[in-house]
């Protein structure tokens, strides 16, 4: 059990890293794009790049917060 937890923790750190919100935004953006394309017939190619760059900015802002270097 301890070993499984350690492997799961390593996998989480490896793929998700320091900010899970970034991963959540990427997944949500791709899901919304799929919905837009397949349900609303809207070619929302612009949605993932906008979401990804916004998520990066948001994550950086959260990382530095009120922190000084």
């Amino acid at each position: 059990m301890k070993r499984i937890r350690a492997i799961a923790g390593f996998a989480y750190d490896f793929v998700i890293g320091d900010d899970w919100r970034v991963a959540a935004v990427v997944v949500a953006a791709l899901a919304l794009t799929a919905l837009a394309v397949h349900v609303a017939d809207l070619n929302a190619w612009w949605l993932p790049p906008v979401a990804v760059l916004a998520a990066l900015g948001w994550s950086l802002r959260r990382a530095v917060g009120g922190r000084k270097p």
Binding site: V26, V27, T33, W45, V52, L56, S59, L60, K68
Partner: protein, 262 residues
Amino acid sequence: MTALPLVLTVFVACAVEAVEALTIVLAAGLTRQWRSTILGLVAALVVLAAVIAVLGPTITRLPLGALRLVVGALLAVFGLQWLRKAILRGAGFKALHDEAGAYLREVAAAEAAPTLAKRGVSDWYAFTLSFKGVLLEGLEVVFIVITFGASQRDVGAAVLGAAIAVTVVTATGIAVRAPLARVPENAMKFAVGIMLTSFGTFWGAEGAGASWPGNDAALLVGVPVVALVSLGYTVALRRRARRGSRGRPAAGAHQPEEVTSP
């Protein structure tokens, strides 16, 4: 699309990780015992090659749409991790990776550890230090090789990029016999982060069913846009750091970091 961006991205990513692995291998080899260190290195390379040999062909068999959706999401998340850290380091909010410092810390730990023979290996500490260092640094490269290679249906080209990088770094390491402290690691990680994020976003959107204007040519715009926005974030954070640290010593930027962190 040509295989050049694939080979170059894997080459740079692999070179950065190989430099970090070389630091650990040198620390183990020069302070402990070369035979056990090289055994650890070879064992880790065998494990990494096995992972590529098993997962590479399996992933390539998946339908391209589903593959690009899953791999695109993974690559974008992974690339954003690299980019985020590179920007924070470039702006001074996170310590730059210091190979010389990492080497000295590894040497100090290696000198203090007792020699113990185990499972036919004469120096178990040197073996495990080398094995773990190469395996951990190599796993990120394997991840990039498999995901990037599979999405372009060209795992062979990705393996080629990785093999060239390992050869170049190993040859340089043998010639210099010291950690490669002058390699611009953060700039290389920044570049890899841009490529992984751009390609991941491109493939993820395609996998979700969207069509890019200009098809593959959209990447010629996408990559520079991600690079420019990332540079913009770095400049903005640097300005913020300068405003914040005026008249105050920069403390956080000089803290040592883990040797195995990406």
